[in-house]
Amino acid sequence: MMTKALPVAAGMAWLALASAADADTPAPPSLAPYFQPAIGAAKAPDADGFLQRWLLLEPIVKPNRSNSGFTNSYVRTALTTHYFPGQFTALPKDGETVKGAAPLRWHAFDAVPFDVTLFTFAAALGKPTYGVIFNAVTVVHSPREMKNVRLAVGSNAASMWWLNGKEAVMLSGDRRMVMDDVLSPRLTLAKGRNVLRGAVINGPGLSDFCVRFLDEDGKPIRDISVDVK
């Protein structure tokens, strides 16, 4: 067993858990098995259509000792709050720093596995892993207009996603990442550039996400590419 949604009795213990667990960790994990620098031409989705090139912002501290409070309303409030300038409008650059409650840096990475392992991203950079909000942005290049596509998301824990500035889908609750967990309503990918933005909130435990587009038949869309510019 592992307590992710911590019971009340364990609550006080958890207050020291993140730091204690991290303090026990002999060395941070290596990024290499999970991320590589995002360089070169725009990246095609993997064989299953998962998008693997992302700008990831170092985590915003948002204490939550349990994920059980990730109700619809809480998640919407937490993930639509403005934490830094340009949060919902700007396309950041690799290495750019934003100023919120604390300076946070954007990192451009290609995910090695199908999913984006946010916990490892944070841990490897020596950043907080529990009680955090992650922000992610990628640019989807579509060779033509594609109607009636769906954004298929799995996230650990809750998340919200916006396509070209419009909310696409929200995943609330204490979720584990399951591919194609929640699908958006039918969307249109514009010909050319489409900005896909996401935010993932997590209390204790691992955090990650996986994202792909599916066509009307539920098949992954692979004739697109993603980049960070």
């Binding site: 067993m1 592992m2 307590t3 026990d24 650990n156 204490d174 399951v178 194609d180 967990d181």
Partner: protein
């Protein structure tokens, strides 16, 4: 699937019915696979200690497991019971650095001269940094090869191979990642498929726990495990086996109980039994197989049913005079389109019962005619005991106290009144195909493994149960 969809309807819950849950004090979290030792059944949980039972129904605190730690599992190989358990990890205290330790004993009964644990050592570990957490071990022995799965939500579920002669890790064996986003795994093998079961959702939060058991299968023990939709368990897939229901929340930690004779069950804990202060309890339910996939069955709910023989399709009934329902067929054949429509009442119990003998009445099987003498009210009995998750039931003709009973010469009759005597108590166990076996509580003096069996299209008796035959299979239909 032959029998699956036939049994259930909207059912009436009766006052005084037994709880669907086990008797005794079955309080445990993360129960290990149930093992028989020295004529008793044992399961062990987190932090040491466990439960013991003589019949699989009534459980008490008992058993000794040194070492503490999390979520053990037990397997018997030869004359040894191997016990694996995790120390550290689980996200508490030690973070995700953990060791799975192994020990063995020749008896699980602390009073046995064979009882005594021998340490084998660490068979799997995680360093707290890598993307896995070595807790929740689970054994599988297939064709002489011993496997151990482990892990939790922190990264991957992994599998390693052990030496069944020593319990130690095979030299040079490396862990293989087989799933993500689950914990409390279990492994099964059936008809050429390996099954990986695990628990999704959250634990340890009483009725707010969302624990539920999922499964994927693979042709190789090291995967890839896929669910029925083809989603890899390495990408979060998993077909539902069981989730919370009624007054019990958050099932987790699957453990197979193969009772033989086409009867399989599984143990688990519920995170919260609302009839027991919301505490975590051991539970046992039937395991069914549908199209090569395991799903949870259920004990028969209290209610009134037709009891149908899967051999003949005929209904168990009192062998009494057939009473016609007053009806002039000409009303049907010669009715005009504008003839007024009126409902025809059911036959009442009083109409059917008028000629019944007062004492014992034989039972036989007949075409189901929706008559009172073919309808049975079945009620699980509190305090009457049971066997591996199945309580004992009384079976009476609906609206009466006339009870189905076994005779000393292994026949079946009805007694005029229910007395609670053992010959009037019946176990009703769901079989892997979804049908049921009906077993008298009293043991036969001359026949082994006796159950209610259809020996002719219209003749029931008590005879040795044959798992390969429809003769001993029954379904319960809404009357």
């Amino acid at each position: 699937m032959r029998h699956f969809a036939t049994a259930l309807a909207a059912l009436l819950s009766l006052p005084g019915a037994a709880s669907a849950q086990l008797a005794g004090e079955p309080f445990i979290h993360d129960p290990s696979t149930i093992m028989e030792s020295d004529g008793k059944y044992y399961t062990f949980g987190t932090r040491g200690g466990g439960l013991v039972s003589e019949d699989g129904w009534t459980w008490h605190s008992g058993g000794e497991r040194p070492g503490g730690g999390l979520a053990p599992d037990v397997i018997k190989i030869g004359d040894r019971y191997y016990v694996a358990y995790a120390v550290g990890g689980g996200g508490m205290n030690g973070g995700h650095a953990s060791n799975i330790k192994m020990m063995w004993t020749k008896s699980l009964d602390p009073k046995s001269p064979d009882f005594g644990y021998h340490d084998v050592g660490v068979v799997a570990s995680t360093d707290g940094v890598e993307n896995a957490d070595a807790i929740d071990p689970a054994f599988l022995l297939v064709d002489g090869r011993l496997w151990l799965s482990y892990g939790t939500y922190y990264g991957f579920i992994r599998i390693v191979e052990l030496d069944p002669k020593t319990g130690m890790r095979l030299a040079g064996n490396q862990p293989v990642d087989i799933a993500i986003d689950m914990e409390a795994t279990a492994l099964m093998y059936r008809d050429g498929w390996y099954y990986l079961l695990g628990t999704h959702g959250t634990c340890c939060d009483g009725p707010n726990s969302s624990y539920n058991i999922r499964v994927g299968r693979a042709k190789s023990v090291t995967g890839p495990y896929l669910d029925t939709m083809g989603v890899p368990l390495l990408k979060g897939g998993g077909k539902l086996v069981i989730d919370g229901r009624g007054r019990t929340f958050g099932p987790g930690h699957f453990g197979l109980i193969d009772l033989g004779g086409g009867m399989e069950k599984f143990s688990m804990h519920y995170e919260a039994d609302m009839d027991r202060s919301g505490r975590s309890v051991l539970a046992i339910q039937p395991l069914l197989w549908r199209d090569g996939w395991p799903i949870a069955g259920d004990n028969l709910k209290a209610g009134t049913y037709e009891i149908t023989s899967e051999r003949s399709g005929n209904a168990l009934q009192l062998n009494v005079d057939f009473v016609r329902i007053a009806f002039d067929p000409r009303r049907s054949f010669f009715a005009k389109p504008d003839t007024p429509i009126v409902p025809v009442p059911d036959q009442t119990l009083a109409e059917d019962q008028a000629t019944w003998p007062k004492d014992k009445i034989a039972v036989d099987l007949g075409e189901y005619m929706i008559r009172p003498h073919q309808q049975w009210t079945i009620t699980p009995l509190a305090g009457a005991g049971g066997y591996f998750g199945s309580p004992y039931y009384k079976i009476v003709v609906a609206g009466t106290d006339r009870a189905l009973a076994a005779t000393p010469d292994d026949e079946v009759v009805t007694a005029p009144a229910f007395t609670g005597a053992p010959e009037q108590l019946w176990r009703i166990d769901q079989l892997i195909d979804g049908s049921y076996r009906i077993t008298p509580k009293v043991k036969s003096a001359s026949r082994r493994d006796v159950a209610l069996v259809t020996i002719g299209a219209s003749t029931p008796t008590l005879a040795t149960f044959d798992p390969a035959s429809d003769a001993g299979r029954w379904t319960f239909k809404a009357p």
